[in-house]
Amino acid sequence: MAKNGPYRELTFLSVIAAVITGVILNMGISFAGMQIGFTIVGSTVAAVIGFGFLRGVLRRGSILEVNIFQTVASGVNTVNAGIIFTIPVLFLLGMDKEMDLRALMLAATAGSLLGVVIIVPLRKQIIDLERLRFPEGVATAAILKSPGAGVAKARLLLISIAFSATVLTLTKLPVEDPLLSEHFNIGKLIGLPAGLRLVLALSLLSLGAGYLAGRHGLVILYGTLLNFWVLIPFCLWMGWVPAGFEGDTLSSLGYERADSFNGAFAGFTSKLVGVGMILGGAIAGILVALPALKSAFGSLKSSPAGGAREEVSMRVLTVGAGIGFVMLLVATWLSGGGNVSWGTALIAAVAGTLWLWIAGLVVAQTTGRTDWSPLSGLALIAIAIMMGIMGTADEYIIPAVTVGAAICVATSMCADMMADLKTGYLIGGKPIKQQIAQIATCWIGPPVAVGTVFILWSAYSFGPDQAQRMYDRQVEQGTVQEYVEKGGGPDQLARGIPNIPAPQAGVLESAINIVQSGDIPLGKYLTGAVLGLLVSLLVSPGLGVMIGLSIYLPFDYMAVFGIGGILSILVTRWKGARFAEDKGVPIAAGLIVGDALVNVGDAIVRVIKAGIAS
């Protein structure tokens, strides 16, 4: 039955409710991210919450209003990835007393704003013209469209969500022997040498995302197998291995040491070559897309014929970029604590903004094709560039990491914004409304994420030496006896103190030490870049980016992603493309959503448990 009144899209209610949801997700996922080392994407979860609240509880939300809800909520949430991958390292380096909180907040907010304004002009190129898939964006659209998609599709979606959520819950139950393992070591089962990895993660999210990525999943599989089945065996044979593994072979490595070898090899070779390929591929992508980029920028300057403006104007973006740049400049100078002159701060801010643009493009391409993004690798390069400009002495680490945090926040915002705009494209949302909503609320997430990190540090400490630090604090405060009675010690946390290893901060700490030592392995970055550039220019744009990404990400998840891609190809071949789309997309979307819901639920439970215990 037709309804009266204006159609609800960008409404005050959806924005306010979304901001509250985004703040809660931000805090929970920041905490969980520092525990497990990666963050959980929030768009699908935000879409489910928005759907349930606006359409279920209030019975008034429209499809496009829920889209605005998930855009804002995921935007407020997503900045946590940029914060928890960078700022905690300053605590681990013992620089927490010298940090300027105003500078950190300002830098993070600058990154958030810049991330939105720089990616908006690329919407037409990436979504309309290149038609990148954005698996998470597709999954979110499937949820939003479910009311009108027909009973069959909605049923498939719900069953798939339930299945995925059940499977993941079985791996997370707090029992001694979980009913389902998170990883299956098939290589060990069939007697493969330990150095030839064949471990699959029980990640239905990866399977679903791989299915939606389609034949790009084959490329991901190629990159993963190239690293683990070609490069590692070859380097072991040649002795081109990190220190501590000289003389090891595929068989002699042993299953106990295989994991630590893979981690060390990633830092020694895979990650460096992989990040190089990503950069080379991204540069190739920019060169190929230059004509289309010019027309995309051109169309922003003028109103379209025969209709209202569909995107925010170039003037708004320029003003936003200007404000963001000034904030970044001031943050850089402030964070230097008197060690960074205005001239140096200006150079750093200019270089940072340029790198931010390139990194944003890279991340938009990688998430557009695979849903994965090399955030930490790009943040690492950002910090290295900043230290190159300002200096490698200890007094420049804080400003370098501060700018690095801004860039990392910006790139996570770019990826999220693009996925949300893809969702909007699929359901008919006006890009300008999503862009206005995002620009208006982008400043909210950064202080929440930064504040969460500070609260966690003051309450529980974090990092690889968390137990020692907590013990030392009790000694300083004169409460060590009470702490020991609760089971605490230099090697063990007391009861009720959550374990927060902050692994990404640990990796960044090692990287900063390498930069300070001057021993940056440029050769691997450059050769990787040449390979990435070549295949992207001569074979297919984006190829270098995808292979580079899959070379250093974990085999366990990338292989499953690749299997999802193969599944998509096979289903298309056997049953036809329409069947693969009609049946496969709701199922794959459900797998992603179910996984994300359980992970967020787990994060919230951890926060509540930690709060009760303390």
Binding site: M1, A2, K3, Y7, I63, L64, K124, D128, L129, R131, K145, P147, G148, Y222, L226, V230, L231, F234, C235, M238, G239, W240, E246, F268, T269, V273, G276, V288, A289, P291, A292, S295, S299, G306, G307, E310, Y425, L426, I427, G428, G429, K430, P521, G523, K524, L526, T527, G528, V530, L531, L534, V535, L538, V539, I547, I551, A577, R578, E581, D582
Partner: protein, 191 residues
């Protein structure tokens, strides 16, 4: 020829990556003693260069194969451009019909027709967008495809608004989508 070109690219890339893995200070003490200024392992650079040659050769072979295949396609029914034109005009005509009949259709019929168009004609068209980009060159492709993509979004908007119970507001998007598709057809006709 396609198999050979792909094999060259895959193997060449593997060799290039293997070579790249050796770009660090040599670990072999004997080689290091003989070449104190060496910055890479002994076989790193040769492997890397062989890999690059393999990738480039494979790409050149593949381009030659694609060119001959396109020529063969062009000699048949109007070629790929003819296919593109036919698909685009078919969608344009469907949207024109939808626009002209929008006040006569029920919400269910309207959404059903849009669903069918998206699952069939639009799906077939957009599934080949990379082929059309290669055919026309990216700049000309962008000039045509801009209208196709904007129209797709506008038609999706009609569907969403109609599904939510606002068909009168939803069908206001149809004339805009029609205009975009007509413009896309006009641009393609000039290329």
């Amino acid at each position: 020829m396609k198999l050979l070109s792909n094999a060259l690219i895959v193997v060449g890339f593997c060799l290039g990556t293997a070579g790249a893995a050796g770009f660090h200070e040599p670990t072999d003490p004997e080689y290091k003693a003989e070449n104190p200024n060496a910055k890479t392992e002994e076989w790193a650079l040769p492997l890397f260069i062989v890999g690059l040659v393999g990738v480039v050769s494979g790409c050149l072979l593949r381009r030659a194969h694609d060119r001959s295949q396109r020529a063969a396609e062009d000699s048949q029914t109007g070629g790929l451009k003819g296919v593109f034109k036919g698909q685009l005009e078919s969608i344009r005509d469907m949207v024109i019909e939808l626009d002209e009949k929008k006040n006569e259709l029920s919400t269910q019929e309207l959404c059903g027709r849009i669903d069918k168009m998206f699952r069939n004609e639009y799906f077939d068209l957009t599934a080949r967008n990379e082929d059309y980009a290669r055919l026309l060159g990216f700049t000309d492709y962008a000039r045509v495809w801009e209208g196709v993509a904007t129209a797709e979004r506008q038609i999706a908007r009609t569907w969403s608004m109609a599904t939510d119970g606002y068909p009168e507001q939803g069908i206001e998007e149809l004339p805009l989508a029609r205009k975009n598709l007509e413009h896309a057809c006009e641009v393609l006709a000039t290329l």
